[in-house]
Amino acid sequence: MEKFNVFASKLIPEAELFSPGHKACQGCAPALALRYLLKAAGPNTMVANATGCMEIISSAYPDMAWGVPWIHVAFENAAAVASGLESGIKIMQRKGKLEKGHINVIAVGGDGGTFDIGLQALSGMLERGQDVLYLCYDNEAYMNTGIQRSSGTPIFASTTTSPAGKAIPGQRTFKKDLAGIAAAHNVTYVATASVAYPFDFMEKVQKALATPGSKLIHIFAPCPTGWRSQPKDIIKLARLAVQTGLFPLYEFTGGKYSMSLDLPFLKPVTNYLKLQGRYRHLTEDMINIIQEDLHLRYEWLQGLAALSHQEEAK
């Protein structure tokens, strides 16, 4: 619990390896996620970035925001490029052409680049067990191209390709369970995280990087532009997503699920929804559907965690 309450910015490295002055919007949570990511990972790191907001805002030549070696090839292949980096580093070290010592290889992609177009490459990387951490920053739509729905977009959210129309009220499908898909590959480490809980996130990054094999962290990262919310409310939204049970924080490691945070009760989801323009059209029935689905998923996850630790409890 202590990592959820502390405020101790002096305990984390001062160096900004994801430097300020990039072109992200005011209140951009994905940019914050990258800042924390590199504070946790440190300079001994290489990054393969999928096309997307974070790639565009950080790499417009000659204004480069990354203080670690970085490569961008295309949209759907960050996991494959990172796989290549990892294999390349291994052989170069084995042949004595590169100093020995662990180098963190991190792939970074948004929800579009991960849930949708990059899912095959991600699955390949996870299945091969490559020593890579995949970070998916999830802002729940294709924000870089102008707020189009992805399979990470939650039900009823209004986007430019799932508009709240008279006949169809926004996104028709429930959000894909990315962390569950990663866990189904039986990889060494999967976690969810939130920009509202930076110490938890950074601890998870360090834990992941210290674990050999394929890892995935799915970080919830609100987008004020795409969600039609106030930049000042972004951390609040990220926190509410956790506190309502909509985006539970958990870890999957060694085949076991653990909740990262014990919530004594779940706040009503309306607290979260009402701060976002993308949900302005919701009716009571629609809110109830969201609320019910959220409870089902949350209880299912709690069940998995309880099952995972049954033996310990005995």
């Binding site: 070696p69 970085w70 090839v73 390349g88 052989i91 590169l98």
Partner: protein, 391 residues
Amino acid sequence: MAKRKGIESSIALADSAAMCRIEAISAYPITPQTHIVEHLSEWVNDGELEAEFLPVESEHSAISAACGMSAVGARTFTATSSQGLALMHEILFLTASLRLPIVMAVANRALAGPISIWNDHSDIMAERDIGWVQIFAENGQECFDLVPLCFKVAEDKRVHLPMILNFDGFIVSHMIEPIEYWEQAQFDNYLPAYDPQIKLDIRNPSMMGAVGVPEIYYEVKMGQHQVLLDSKVVVKEALEALEKQCGRRYEVVESYRADDADVVMVLLGSLVETCMTAVDNLRAKGLKVGIVRPRLWRPFPTEEFIESLGDIPVLGVCDRSYTFGGAHHPLASEIKSVLYGSGKAPKICEYMIGIGGRDIRVEEFEQMFMQLLEVKENGKDLPIQYVGVRS
């Protein structure tokens, strides 16, 4: 001393890649390329080659992973065909603009649809403009000899571009031929260890693949075009060095009995050898026919090609893929554009041959040559000839 052995061309090509001391291989199966990566996995799994072998989940990931491998400075090899090459399409442009000297063997095969595993050149002609150096081998020996050449050219600091080695699927890839192997020492003499000009390095962080804003994109593309054009000189040097190593002389444009020819055929790939037999048969009858074939396809060896033609009045140009709806098919289009304004204006007859594995026989080449000789006499224009197609 170099040994000669009877071996399948794909296996010889893979052996040659291994003897180039490749360090990283990304692999995905596709007919008729698969024997190459299968054999390389044996090299690695038997502990005879110190390399990383990454069996990925698609060709798109094969070339993407190869980019990652090459970006950290590993000598990187992959191979594909047809649909696989088409699936790589997006990343092929990026590989060139990232200046990653990956070498890829392409067993040329028809593109679907309808699906066909057999040989023609529609896969590679669809990738004409990707910015890679591209060369054609016509038999197993050439496949073996040209792998080290590809690495030597690609990794040259004046080039630093990826390179494709084309050879005909099945016709070459699955053919068992007597092939003269180089000694390992010859490889090591010919091909120094890869010393990358640029790589990702935690001690010296850099960014590869930045956004090309309008103020810079054009210059990047211009630089790429120029360096690809200039790579011809490096290819020529590397071919000369190769002759010193193995005694076989290859040129960017090669001629066969073309010096005093009345008519010549222009074509790429393994059908040159069938065509040579036709030339010999007709020469034996006193007919002056020959062959001019560009071995280097990108950059196109314009000056050498024009020079090779001499004053030959009639050319036949054989295409092995379609430019649907175009005025000319790809090779004819290239040859015509090269000659326009060159001061030479031979009559050009266009042929389509060997599509989707359709056999082309010596007698058919002989008939084509007879047709060219007729054109030389009567000066008439021929429409594009689709050889052997049923109406």
